[in-house]
Amino acid sequence: MSAPRSQPVNDTQLDSAGLARRLSQTWATPKGLWGALTTVDHKIIGRRYVVTALIFLALGGVLALLMRWQLARANNGLIGPDLYDQIFTQHGSNMMFLFAVPVMEAMGIYLVPLMIGTRNIAFPRLNAYSYWLYLAGGLMLWISFALDMAPDVGWFAYVPLSGPQFGAGKRSDIWAQMITFTEVSALAVAVELVVTIFKQRAPGMTLQRIPVFVWAMLVTSFLIILAMPAIMVASTSLILDRLVGTHFFNPAEGGDVLLWQHLFWFFGHPEVYIIFLPATGMISAIIPTFVRRPLVGRLGLVLALIATGVLAFGLWVHHMFVVGLPRLGESFFTVSSMSIAIPAGVQIFCWLATLWDGKPVMRVPLLFVIAFLVTFVIGGLTGVMVASVPFDTQVHDTYFVVAHFHYVLIGGAVFPLMGALYYWFPKFTGRLMSERLGRWVVSLVFVGFNLTFFPMHILGLEGMPRRVYTYSEQMGWQSLNLLSSSAAIVLAAGFALFFIDLLRSLRRGEPAGENPWNAATLEWATASPPPSCNFVHIPVVTGAEPLWENPETIEVAEGLRADRRELLVTSLTEARPVARESSPRNTIWPFLAAIATTVMLIASIFTPWAMVWGAVPLAATLIGWFWPKGTPEDES
């Protein structure tokens, strides 16, 4: 497999065209199926993640439309209770685990190495593995849906409903194992991002010069590392209760029903910040470019990110305000839940100040930022409302809460994501998306969203609980439900147009060039799309806005090898170069390891022994993965 040892080739030995060519060879991913299965290029894997997540978004959206259709009329007979319960469970689980977190991670996977000036993410093979695992988990969940055995207990699967006594069949086991797939995948990416951001930044990129989007991904990664174990433990305990007779959640044998809720929400609350913080990072990246000046209060923005991350762990009981916990305990969580409005406010005011002093360029990415600000602030304010225990006793588990979380998730995460895709699409593909279609998308999505979800605040206060497959005419909820369902069509049209624009622009978008937005950060200092090695020479950074400080020239470092995959390791705070490091070649082992893991995890839904005999092929693939291949990358 390894090439005969030849003389090492340094980048100083080649001229510019020759170097570009040689680096392409060294870092290339061959075309075709084999290339796709063996690639470890973060850009290919990141794009793959984004596409997959967007497909899951579309599927989840169809489920939402089905629910809105069923609820448009009282006593509608379109969908019965069993299917409806599967649909809302699938909708929530799909959106949270298969779309929202993966797409944010994906943007990090693609953009972070480029923004910090390195050639690949840390642990590229783990990156490849994490995608296959994510795909496997998603396929498992959707195949179960197609087979009418999807989980039907809500995306947070409260016991005892999901437990061995009341959760018949394998539905809840499928849910719990889907969690394992997606959480292992997300944890892997989180570890990669932390190490990449800590150790692979361009020389001179001190902590103060790290782009705010990268900070957001760093904080998010720590949230993932500290929060996801909670749901892994929870879902494992659930499977154990169901499969081998443990009693974690069985009050008759010393277990506790509320233990599930504590474990789940200890993860569940940070989860929403895992989704939201990257979105704030995207806003922090888009605004400066489109107001032609750096962010106001950069330090405050970074501290707000960290404060939000820390506070996020102290809120979880606000999901349990009506379970009968002692009032003193609940009060603490009111304080913490209200307090998180403060770092959120810091971010919003810094952005507003930047918009105020800057000169706005009203292109589609900024239009999405505006849509975000209008919508997310509403969601944040209803969040402050439900942080109050007495108020929450009325609206908990009603459509008011459904409205709240869609406002913060769609307004606060999906709008920034859409703006970010319009912003970075030219970098991913070399082509711009359509400004004209984009304006239609923003308008349809903004109007459609607000008309669909605002009425739900009222419905909740008027007594409509969540997760009901139908309601009677006497309740007086029909007109608002009909309004909401009709508006959902407008929202869907907006998304459909968005997907059309994405697909169309791939072929027929205007060519973009390196830096179509005249932006400041390093990802815009290389071609669109970037070459496989990202940068022909590693950039050297002397400020927080590198391309605005030196619009004509970029300072670079040379001396890396061109015949082996090499990148630069720098120190933690000052980003001084300390070592070179090799980056792995394309390899099939991550894919094989993912298959072994998938078999082991799916089999263990049916028998605990699968964890034992399934470990053997997994160990074999891991040995294949780590065993040195004698390639130039193994030299020291």
Partner: protein, 200 residues
């Protein structure tokens, strides 16, 4: 954009060690992750304890001997572990090879003791919630020992092949040493929970 060269990198080592090694940081990140999982399981143990009218629930506390042997064995293994770490930093291949054999043995031995520990628990995982959390804690830690032993064995074998002379392997050994420290350290609070708390 035009490029201007301001820095030379070819004098840098081809591979970083210690805090210059990405895999060391990756190992730390995994320790944080798995440490969180352990902390949560201990949290579950304490939560169920507070709820229960009496603890242990319907069982005698686990018998002393196996757990104590385990603790002594694991703590003792920290010494050769430390030495292997030092030898790997000194790139001393011969001693590292010896050390990996010793650590492999010291990794397999606790697994055998663990079997006796499970049998000393005086309760099954499906007897009640107390039994469930005990088996979960012990099971999780056993899985960690097992995966680390597998890692040690494979790395140990590698040290005896031609790949062993590559200084990258020394970095791998350092990471392996670091992780074993973690495996031993996480045992201590679990040991306290399983064997001491029921007797307090």
């Amino acid at each position: 954009m035009k490029e201007r060269v301001v820095m030379q990198l070819d004098a840098l080592p081809m591979h970083g060690r210690g805090s210059d090694s990405p895999t060391m940081w990756g190992t730390l990140a995994f320790m944080l992750l798995e440490g969180s999982a352990f902390a949560l399981c201990i949290g579950i143990y304490l939560y169920l304890l507070v709820l229960a009218p009496q603890w242990p629930i319907g069982a005698l506390p686990p018998r002393w001997p196996a757990g104590t042997v385990m603790t002594v064995l694991l703590l003792a293994s920290l010494v050769p572990n430390y030495l292997v770490g030092r030898w790997s930093r000194e790139n001393d291949l011969a001693r590292v090879r010896l050390g990996m054999v010793i650590m492999s043995v010291l990794g397999i031995a606790p697994l055998i003791v663990r079997v006796f520990e499970f049998r000393s628990l005086n309760v099954w995982w499906d007897t009640n919630a107390y039994g469930s959390i005990l088996w979960l804690l012990l099971g999780l830690h056993s899985m960690h020992i097992a995966t680390d032993v597998a890692d040690t064995l494979v790395l140990g074998v590698m040290m005896f092949t031609r790949h062993g002379s590559n200084s990258r392997r020394m970095g791998d050994v350092e990471d392996n040493v670091l992780y074993w420290n973690f495996v031993v350290l996480t045992w201590l609070p679990i040991y306290f929970c399983i064997y001491w708390i029921p007797r307090l």
